[in-house]
């Protein structure tokens, strides 16, 4: 049992090493750092006057509600992380599975006393943890900076870590599946991003279903909506909770997306087990 845990740990550690060796991951952390620095040094908030300035220039001509400003900042950062952070994380992770499947590398890994599912899951979990470290770094730093500057500490903002990481973990299942089948990082990114876009379109089902003329096309649309991960719906729910502190249905998007991810990842593991290398 200990040996299995140690082997799994070694696989995760390897993913971190590989991530560190890739410029894309440094880019991801660099962007996060820039954003943190923006809040730390550039944005100045005058609590008494209720004014906000950027690099000493007055950004507002009238007094503003600092609480509303903080909520707007939370909204902007969480949406930025959810969309762009997820996109960049997918882009950065896309090469990790194909690189492991390179002929001279995979044959040596498979010769070790570990199962194929363990090997693939080690890479998957390692990837998620690498991205988690970036998300935690970004959100926690901004939360602390804003908290220190405004004395407003809303723990709801930390939900942005969980939601962004969750949707990344679901889309990473697709990256793994496409990587295992095609060994192409470019195709992995294309498919994952396509699903992000399709999910956004499918989420407009209330409008679209009314416009569709035939029953079967309406059912097809509804069916696809339930199958595809709910990238848009989860983002909308997250915004409602974080910014407005309102009740929102986050359970449905989470469980349907989780089922999608589990099915896709299981398929990837199945194909990986069956393949010759």
């Amino acid at each position: 049992m200990m040996t299995k845990a140690a082997v799994f740990g070694a696989l995760i550690s390897d993913t971190f090493q590989e991530a560190r060796a890739r410029w894309l991951f440094w880019g991801l952390f660099g962007l996060s750092t820039l954003l943190i620095l923006l809040f730390l040094f550039v944005l100045k908030i005058d609590l008494v006057a209720g004014a906000v300035s950027l690099m000493g220039f007055e950004a507002t001509t009238r007094h503003i509600d600092i609480h509303r400003f903080v909520m707007a900042s939370y909204s902007w950062v969480s949406v930025f992380l959810y969309i762009w952070g997820t996109f960049l994380a997918i882009f950065a992770s896309s090469g990790l599975i194909p690189s492991v499947l390179e002929p001279g590398r995979i044959s040596l890994l498979l010769a070790k006393p570990l199962t194929r599912p363990m090997l693939l899951m080690g890479q998957y979990v390692g990837n998620v943890l690498v991205v988690a470290s970036n998300h935690i770094y970004l959100i926690c730093s901004i939360w602390i900076v804003i908290g220190l500057k405004t004395n407003i500490w809303e723990p709801r903002f930390l939900l942005a870590i969980a939601s962004s990481l969750f949707i990344f973990a679901v889309l990473l299942c697709l990256v793994v599946l496409v990587g295992v089948i095609s060994e192409s990082s470019a195709l992995s990114v294309m498919v994952a991003v396509a699903f992000m876009l399709i999910s956004t379109i499918l989420a407009q089902r209330q409008i679209v279903v009314r416009l569709l003329s035939s029953e079967w096309s309406r059912e097809l649309w509804q069916g696809l909506y339930w199958i595809v991960p709910k990238v848009y719906d989860l983002a909308a729910a997250m915004r409602q909770i974080i910014v407005y502190d309102r009740e929102a249905d986050w359970v449905t998007p989470v469980w349907t997306s989780a089922v999608f991810g589990a099915v896709v990842l299981s398929t990837a593991v199945y194909i990986f087990r069956k393949r010759d290398f």
Binding site: L11, Q17, A21, E102, R105, L108, L110, K112, P113
Partner: protein, 311 residues
């Protein structure tokens, strides 16, 4: 279950299918091979003979179409069967973000070596392969020969009982080859079984005790190197030889080549030839001819892979 064989395959077969037409391409055909523990065994064959596919089936990287493969008596598909195996693949691609020491540590961790032992073994192995000054250097700076030596250290890190080396000196200069040979010679008497897959005849001839030649996915010849390359030996040709007699001849270490009508067996001495004839006749086989032979492994290899009888 205790076994005397490090590798044991029974009618192992691999057929690839072309992606679109589904055409069958046989890579390995009904290969039954037994490699006793503690010996140095060479697997020879021209390019495309199925050597690498065979090795990959042993390591469960390729799934056999039919047949079985066992490592120390355990089904090769069981990950535990691979625990005592050290492997150096052909055209390996070690991750370049590792340092030499980091790479050894990682692969040893995957083999289940505890952290405290890895800390001790890494410098030992780097010293063994002459890379003690290079442990902290990223391996993308290593030459081909250095990578090969590091790969060998990787295969030895967890004290394997069976070392499978796929073209271990491919692309290595003569000095590097000698270094690798010396490291492998250092394993003599340690009980480690060395299985080398190579197309370099001289290397196999000088290092291995047993050899098998694969040709078009089939076992074309198998036996003791000393029998094959005897300056003066004997070739016995026979037909209608039962399987039990073939197994007995293999046990005696005779070099057996399958021919179109029967088999051709080579031994190193007159006494062995006579014993062989007894075995064949006792099993109901017919002796076709007995002749003197003198050959090198290269002669045997060329004759075998050209489809001629090994003499």
């Amino acid at each position: 279950m205790p076994t005397e064989f490090a590798i044991e395959t029974d009618a192992l077969r691999k057929v690839y299918r072309s992606r679109f037409r589904g055409r069958e391409i046989p890579a390995v055909s009904n290969l039954s091979l037994r490699v006793p523990q503690g010996i140095k065994y060479g697997l020879l064959g021209p390019n495309g003979a199925g050597k690498t596919t065979f090795v990959k089936m042993l390591l469960a990287a390729v799934h056999p179409t039919s047949g079985t493969a066992k490592l120390f008596g355990k089904d090769a598909r069981d990950p535990e069967a691979r625990r005592p195996i050290g492997y150096l693949p052909e055209n390996h691609r070690f991750p370049t973000y590792f340092s030499g020491a980091g790479m050894l540590d990682f692969y040893a961790a995957l083999s289940g070596v505890p952290a405290h032992e890895r800390r001790r073994r890494v410098p030992e192995m780097l010293k063994l392969v002459g890379l003690e000054q290079w442990g902290d250097v990223r391996i993308k700076k290593y030459s081909k020969g250095m990578l090969q030596r590091l790969g060998l250290a990787q295969a030895l890190m967890h004290r394997p009982r069976l070392l499978i080396l796929d073209e271990p000196t491919d692309g290595v200069d003569p000095v590097g080859r000698r270094d690798i040979r010396e490291i492998l010679n250092g394993l003599t008497g340690t009980g480690v079984t060395v299985f080398i897959n190579s197309h370099l005849l001289g290397e196999v001839e000088s290092f291995c005790e047993y050899v098998a030649i694969l040709h078009k996915g089939k076992l074309a010849l198998e036996g003791k190197v000393s029998s094959l390359i005897a300056g003066r030996g004997y070739t016995v040709e026979a037909t209608q030889v039962p399987n039990a007699a073939v197994a007995e001849m293999r046990r005696l270490g005779a070099a057996i080549a399958m021919t179109t009508d029967g088999l051709s067996v080579q031994v190193g001495s007159l006494e062995e030839a006579n014993h062989l004839i007894d075995v064949i006749r006792a099993g109901g086989g017919l002796i076709e001819s007995v002749s003197n032979s003198a050959s090198s492994l290269e002669d045997v290899f060329i004759r075998t892979t050209r489809g001629e009888k090994a003499a």
